[in-house]
């Protein structure tokens, strides 16, 4: 018995230690390679984006794996975070010279904006049972893309200027255009760094794990496993689902913000439905509820197609095939048994 306890104790902490350890070791190795000039420029350029995708995927895993609600709009929340961050960073560039403080402030604003929009979507939708969240987040992703595609925002000494559909900005001397419709953000200060990306990954891991192993986390998982039983022990199901959904949206917002501040220009079309699906694929392949798996799957799936450019045309085809295989596997009792033994972390050790 004592052993069982110890074993389990380790297994809960093990998945956490594994995630943090993996990220920190990867960071050290990559930093050394960077400093010694052993990293190709293509690889170097992917470091920050990989961190962004990981953060967005960890958030989505909280929503899909832990809370059990399908969200098809993670790209949309990244988009909100991205363009809010671009605007905030652009405005602050006049008053705050320190890039680090500007970076933190922009990411915070991006995360909060995405969280607020998540809450607005969640309040009506999460009261309903069924797959409504999937439908509404899918629509949200499309709508937010169209809105930003038609949005022109500028800033000068007189304050903000905004116009819709047509570029009617008349900026004074020294002002700058923050968003330019379909061209998106142009002339952004590239203040994102790999180190900060890794810090953001570690932070999101900390948030998700600490949430999972708390009364709120237990309530989220209870509501996922059995809604009626959860209500019978006094758990407000809509509220717990809301907590997971908004946290997930905020992480996507932060991820999008970091992403945007890594590029001088960024078009709204970057955050399309494909991106939402890609992030979902990372989560499903990494394993629902498995954060270490999410990190590995995201890294591999972001890097592979980029490093094997010749496969680019077939990327979506391969994803589709892998998704179908996964769906077949997860619905097959026999294979499920086999796979659960292979899976990292909880289940095997606790049987």
């Amino acid at each position: 018995m004592k052993e069982k306890l110890a074993q389990m104790f380790q297994s809960k902490n093990r998945s956490r230690t594994l995630s943090f350890g993996l990220v920190i070791i990867a960071y050290i190795v990559l930093e050394v390679l960077l400093l010694t000039g052993n990293l190709s420029s293509l690889f170097t350029s992917l470091l920050v984006p990989v961190c962004c995708y990981i953060v967005a995927a960890i958030g989505l895993n909280l929503n899909v794996g832990i809370s059990g609600e399908l969200n098809l709009g993670q790209g949309g929340f990244m988009s909100v975070g991205a363009f809010v961050a671009v605007c905030v960073s652009g405005v602050l560039s006049y008053s705050i010279p320190s890039p680090i403080i500007r970076l933190i402030a922009s990411i915070l604003c991006g995360a909060i904006a995405a969280g607020v929009i998540g809450a607005l979507i969640g309040i009506p939708v999460l009261k309903l049972q069924g797959d409504y969240l999937a439908i509404v987040t899918l629509a949200f992703g499309q709508i937010i893309k169209s809105i930003i595609n038609n949005l022109y925002i500028g800033y000068d000494k007189n304050g903000f200027q905004m116009s819709f559909v047509e570029n009617k900005l008349a900026l004074a001397e020294g002002g700058k255009a923050l968003l330019s419709g379909p061209m998106g953000a142009t002339g952004t200060d590239r203040i994102a760094t790999f180190t900060f990306g890794v810090i953001l990954v570690l932070l999101s891991l900390l948030i998700v794990y600490n949430l999972m192993y708390s009364r709120n986390g237990r309530a989220i998982m209870a509501a996922r496993d059995n809604r009626i039983a959860a209500e019978s022990v006094g758990i407000n199901v809509a509220n717990t689902k809301m907590l997971a959904f908004v946290t997930s949206a905020m992480l996507a917002g932060a991820a999008g913000a970091l992403y945007a501040l890594n590029y001088a220009t960024l078009a709204p079309s970057k955050f399309d439905f494909n991106l939402s699906i890609l992030i979902l694929v990372y989560v499903v392949l990494g394993g629902l509820g498995n954060m270490t798996g999410t990190i590995i799957a995201t890294t591999v799936l972001v890097l592979l197609p980029e490093l094997l450019r010749s496969l680019q045309d077939y990327r979506m085809l391969i994803y589709a095939i892998i998704l179908i295989v996964i769906m077949l596997v997860t619905n097959n009792e026999f294979l499920k048994e086999k796979f659960s033994k292979l899976r990292l972390g909880k289940k095997g050790a606790m049987k």
Partner: protein, 258 residues
């Protein structure tokens, strides 16, 4: 003790529900006093589980009123009814199958503690203090039900009898005043049923709660209930002490068929 001196936990008057054309429960009156064990019996389909679903607001009553500790529950949700003091188990076991046995019990204490999401994420002292309390209480409850050795198992991996006991432990974790048990002995062998009877008595006295029990095992019902209400086709057929019920010709007829 005379009935007038005791406080009723639950008072149900003229309760009824229709599903389309089907009247599943009708004209039910039921009063349960503090620290009392009441049986709810009846043939299959009599409406027993439906009564539980009405009491816990899974269904809205079509007619009648439910008073819980002097408070009308007509505006309450399932969650609020639990907070007000009713906990239950389910005829078809409804555990949180992917959570550990221990975590299943801990979910029952959700509303008893108040540390916030921020306390949890930042691991502040309040989180640590309350989690320690939660852990201690949950393990004590598991001990009562002989599940302490299985605390870290996944709930779905437990055998049937243990799942039933875990469900009772989880319900008790919400600190109810009234515990509703829907066929807790279903699928248990005679020895397990015997142990369950002892457990039910023990928790009733230790936690000083009232229990409303649905059960087909007559030995169990007659053995621990002080009063019994019999339902047939949704209507109340008889109510009284176990002896009165056993001797009631209408009850015998309903059970043996015409």
């Amino acid at each position: 003790m005379s009935e007038e001196n005791r406080t009723p936990i639950l008072e149900v008057t003229d309760l009824g529900i229709d599903f389309g054309g089907l009247t599943a429960v009708n004209n039910l009156d039921l009063t349960i006093y503090e620290n009392e064990t009441v049986g709810l019996i009846g043939p299959n389909g009599a409406g027993k589980t439906t009564v539980f679903n009405l009491l816990t607001k899974v269904y809205e009553p079509t007619r009648g009123e439910i008073w819980l500790c002097g408070e009308n529950t007509h505006k309450m949700t399932t969650v609020q009814v639990n907070k007000a003091g009713i906990a239950r188990t389910f005829q078809n076991i409804r555990l949180f199958m992917n959570l550990s046995v221990l975590d299943n019990v801990k979910t029952g204490m959700h509303n008893e503690h108040s540390y916030s999401v921020a306390d949890a994420i930042l691991r502040l002292p309040k989180y640590k203090k309350e989690e320690a309390e939660i852990d201690e209480k949950a393990r004590e409850l598991l001990k009562i039900f002989g599940l302490e050795d299985k605390a870290e198992y996944i709930a779905g991996s437990l055998p049937y009898g243990e799942q039933r006991r875990l469900e009772i432990a989880r319900a008790l974790a919400t600190s109810p005043k009234l515990l509703l048990l829907d066929e807790p002995a279903a699928g248990m062998n005679p020895q397990e049923t015997e142990e369950l009877m002892d457990m039910i008595r023990k928790i009733r006295d230790q936690f000083h709660i009232a229990i409303l029990l649905i059960e087909h095992d007559m030995k169990l019902v007659m053995g621990i209930c002080e009063r019994i209400t019999v339902l047939n086709y949704g209507a109340m057929l008889a109510t009284g002490t176990p002896e009165e019920i056993q001797a009631n010709p209408q009850v015998i007829k309903a059970y043996l068929g015409e």
